[in-house]
């Protein structure tokens, strides 16, 4: 069975400061890892993914994430937070390879950027 842990229900950051949203995972096999963002009363928007290759992946809106195999982590980062980054963030995983398998999501982290 695979699982994702997002240890923080909420992260508060001042505008302009760097932000980190934490994610750790457990999967049998090579992981495919994803970050999604959800704004109030909206669907999920894809931010970025790690499939293979460079451990640092860059995505939409200036976000990036670092894959760390030894720590089984995939933390989301941004060098300078904006108030508009305030939203609910989900980390997700599936076993790598072909096939139709669905994603396993973490419980989500509310990111609040204070002006």
């Amino acid at each position: 069975a695979q699982s994702v842990a997002q240890p923080e229900d909420q992260v508060n950051v001042a505008e302009g400061n760097p932000l980190t949203v934490k994610c750790t995972y457990s999967v049998s096999g090579n992981p495919y890892l994803f970050w999604y963002v959800q704004y109030p009363n909206r669907g999920l928007q894809f931010l970025l993914k790690y499939i293979t290759g460079d451990n640092l992946v860059k995505g939409s809106y200036g976000f990036e994430a670092e894959f760390n195999k030894s720590q089984t982590s995939f933390h989301l980062k941004k060098p300078s937070a904006l108030v508009s980054d305030s939203a609910l963030y989900f980390c997700a995983v599936r076993v790598g390879g072909g096939g139709a398998d669905g994603l396993t999501f973490g419980k989500g982290t509310h990111l609040i950027i204070q002006p």
Partner: protein, 113 residues
């Protein structure tokens, strides 16, 4: 929005009634998924489909059934709705070639009284 629509967008129903939610896509994607979102649980996979008439169960499939008679439509049915099925339901697609991420529809908010 990846050409995904969900209907209805909001529904209130009573315990014991059948409910069908529809997911419609316009881009002929093979893989389709149904998730539910609940506070404190994130999103959980209910059922998925890997082609017309090819479906499989996800993590929380009890009380739900699905059908896919056409590539573009994936239906989720609650045979006899219960209050524990009050949730927001999301449909997703995953293109086969060149992608590993899924793209989500706008969601359906279902309330079972």
């Amino acid at each position: 929005d990846a050409g995904i629509t969900q209907s209805p967008r909001h529904k209130v129903t009573e315990t014991g009634t059948p409910v069908t939610l529809r997911c419609h896509q316009t881009e002929n994607h093979r893989y389709m998924y149904w998730y539910r979102q609940d506070p404190g649980h994130g999103l959980r996979l209910i059922h998925y489909s890997y082609g017309v008439k090819d479906t499989d169960k996800g993590e929380v499939s009890d009380g739900y059934s699905v059908s896919r008679s056409k590539t573009e439509d994936f239906l989720l049915t609650l045979e006899s709705a219960t209050s524990s099925q009050t949730s927001v339901y999301f449909c997703a697609i995953r293109p086969v070639l060149g992608y590993n991420e899924q793209f989500f529809g706008p969601g359906t908010r279902l309330t079972v009284l």
